[in-house]
Symmetry: C2
Subunit: 429 residues, 2 copies
């Protein structure tokens, strides 16, 4: 079968070129909003946010002990203790109302504001108290056991960069920095339109719409606000009018199905009829997912993916995730990857960037990987049994037994080789 | 300073022992509920869930072409095509109302139900149509280009295991499996009580409660339903009565502060006074976080952590995350780790399991790591500059330059060595 004629495509564009054109041509402005810092976790910062103050605000005791003048205790030793007079005590949260002068000390508890005049804390263990005097047994350098004002955060320090997702430690740091509200991106609104008579048929030929809810769940995980607009029949007019009607309500539209039905390319045909539509790409060297495409309509991206769930998922990973990141100025987040030893050959179709669903398991304290053989783009069960994805670039023929490769984990690692791999091997050989 | 007397502790228990006792002694039953599959993404499955049906429900065409009897086309070749009579056409979603008999074929589109009698699909490209006849140029084995009924999911197949978080592909598979509702765990209710006069003081010594919102954000990320109960003063009676009053509303309580204030161990003292309270552990060999502890009260775990944000975060990672996982029967999820080359020595205090905040950056296409020097448990900024955590076991003295270690990424990797590392080195050497 000639690759050139597959599903009516004359060629499959290189994925990286298609993505680069998508990212260059699309520049939807995602709106932003102010939210209280305590509600901001999980949202994406819309601007660089800087500290309004020093933190800690004052010098504080870092442990329980005696606040002293470091110069007073320079020579202290167990055989020659320095004797200081206790002039007070400070608990955390109190404002000391006295000063520590030469020859004096004060009891301080962890977190307490250091009394004026003191510049070091002698731990309780390194001194002996006798009534209102304390015998210091060890010296302490200036600022020993003192949390300095501003040592954690200084006024003007960058707390969170635009594009970063607010994590728990950002929340704490923003509060310490004196910030109560932060500007975050509104969640991008993504509309999902599923095209296909088979999703509508009443007469028994109907199949359930599983790809729509899959996309919905994926976009929610990604921090978007997805809406399932509904199922539209295989009809160019209806598809065009649906897109024209709903586009204004969304930042991005995702269409599934009709990308190569009956060789008619229903969805591209329908999109091309919408006013001001321009094609960004259609047909990429991805497996699965080669029928993916995108139009730009009224400045907004309309993505088209196969109606088959695994192909649609690859389309989301390959195009929608980088697009959302770019619109929010976000750096790629770390993904859970592991290095594994190949147990059974993985053969790629050269020219295609392929997403293999694979199984990672532990054996003799080493991580092994086997690909799942039955791997059509309709076979969702490969993502249930499989717990990792191996991405193979288009110029790689595959990987041999005992090669080492990196895979992206999507589920827990099996603690031994799962038995279903035997069935796998036998049913499809 | 003797380790034994630190903050009044006589010893720091081995972390693994403390955790193991916590997990053994606590067996709170987290409630479950039925939710629509389309709302289940991100929730944790509360029982093994199996398919109610085969999927696909019928044999379907895997591409556009001609449905044939494979025996008819065994000898087909371009020089000797097999001529078949077209008897109909089936679109996706249609129920074929005819049968393919010997010598016959039918047009089928991707996803269409295979007409009775047919068992293979010849792609359009491998045949030539002439009016109501088709000239087949290539043979096809039985079931070639046919998605077999049940090839993806069989009735009784496991779709999702108890304890797994529902991901987008589970949603799609559950729908295909005929499941509309799934039993998931209710989000564990975790109450947060922050103890400390310094968080309440009106007179200027007040510091903001950043640890409470940090814990709140962390627990939300973890899939819990956290509630900030409020700040309680350093008063044993008030702490005890707060715990007694609120415990019934939560599955777990997290207390911060007062774990070693003034050597008085306020929170442990207060918890020990609550009826039926029994100590699980107090004092562990974690750095930061060694003042962590837990009581069991009325069968529920009450965890105690330092009020300092980084120490509290280590407590959450070390105890609360594994506890929640255990209560939901969840396997550890993959974390984003990378292998990095040590650029500056990391020195551990032997005997302690330490959590170093480190910086990972790329240089000459290799990943390097440097620890942040200023690393007290109050220094939240180490989690802003640092983008990874290095966990060093208690029997390891540290890592030397050019050693390779695995670190857990908590933020994007720096594309070059950040300049602040120079300041780091100079301010604290």
């Amino acid at each position: 079968m000639s690759r050139k004629r597959l599903e009516g495509f004359t060629r499959f564009e290189k994925y990286e070129d298609a993505l680069s054109r998508l990212l260059t041509q699309v520049s939807v402005a995602i709106e932003s909003e102010m939210v209280p810092v305590t509600d901001a976790a999980g949202r994406v910062a819309a601007e660089d946010t800087y500290s309004l103050r020093d933190y800690p605000p004052v010098d504080r005791a870092a442990l329980d002990g005696y606040a002293v003048k470091s110069l007073d205790v320079l020579s202290a030793s167990p055989s020659n203790p320095v004797i200081l007079r206790l002039v007070g005590s400070v608990e955390a949260g109190e404002i000391p109302k006295f000063t520590v002068n030469v020859g004096e000390a004060a009891i301080v508890f962890t977190g307490a504001t250091m009394p004026e005049g003191s510049d070091a804390v002698i731990p309780f263990e390194e001194a002996v108290r006798k009534e209102s005097y304390v015998y210091v047994l060890r010296p302490a350098q200036k600022y020993k056991n003192v949390s300095r004002a501003g040592e954690d955060i200084k006024k003007g320090d960058l707390i969170i960069k635009r594009g970063l997702t607010v994590r728990p430690w950002h929340v704490a740091a923003l509060i310490e920095a004196g910030i109560t509200e932060i500007k975050v991106f509104k969640k991008p609104r993504v509309g999902i339109v599923n095209v296909g008579n088979e999703l509508l048929a009443g007469g028994g030929g109907k199949i359930p719409n599983s790809t729509g809810p899959l996309i919905h769940a994926y976009l929610k995980e990604l921090g978007c606000e997805p809406v399932l607009i509904g199922v539209v029949p295989d009809d160019v007019e209806e598809i065009s009018s649906t897109v024209s009607r709903v586009l204004r309500d969304f930042d991005i539209l995702v269409m599934t199905g009709g990308t190569s039905v009956g060789g008619k390319d229903l969805v591209p045909e329908a999109l091309s009829r919408v006013k001001s539509a321009s094609l960004i790409f259609h047909g990429v060297n991805l497996r699965p997912g080669r029928t993916a495409g995108a139009y730009l309509i009224e400045g907004k991206p309309v993505l088209m993916f196969s109606g088959l769930p695994v192909a649609a998922l690859v389309g989301l990973e390959a195009f929608v995730k980088p697009l959302i990141r770019k619109l929010m100025g976000a750096a790629p987040l770390p993904e859970p990857t592991v290095r594994v030893r190949v147990r059974r050959r993985v053969a790629n179709v050269v020219g295609f960037k392929s997403f293999f669903r694979v199984v990672v398991y532990r054996e003799n304290n080493e991580l092994f990987m086997e690909p799942l053989r039955l791997s059509g783009s309709g076979i969702i069960s490969t993502l249930l049994k499989g717990n990792a994805i191996l991405v193979v670039d288009e110029n790689i023929e595959g990987y041999d037994e005992d090669d080492y490769v990196n895979v992206i984990l999507i589920g827990p690692i099996y603690e031994k080789r799962p038995e279903f791999l035997d069935q796998e091997a036998s049913t499809s050989s």
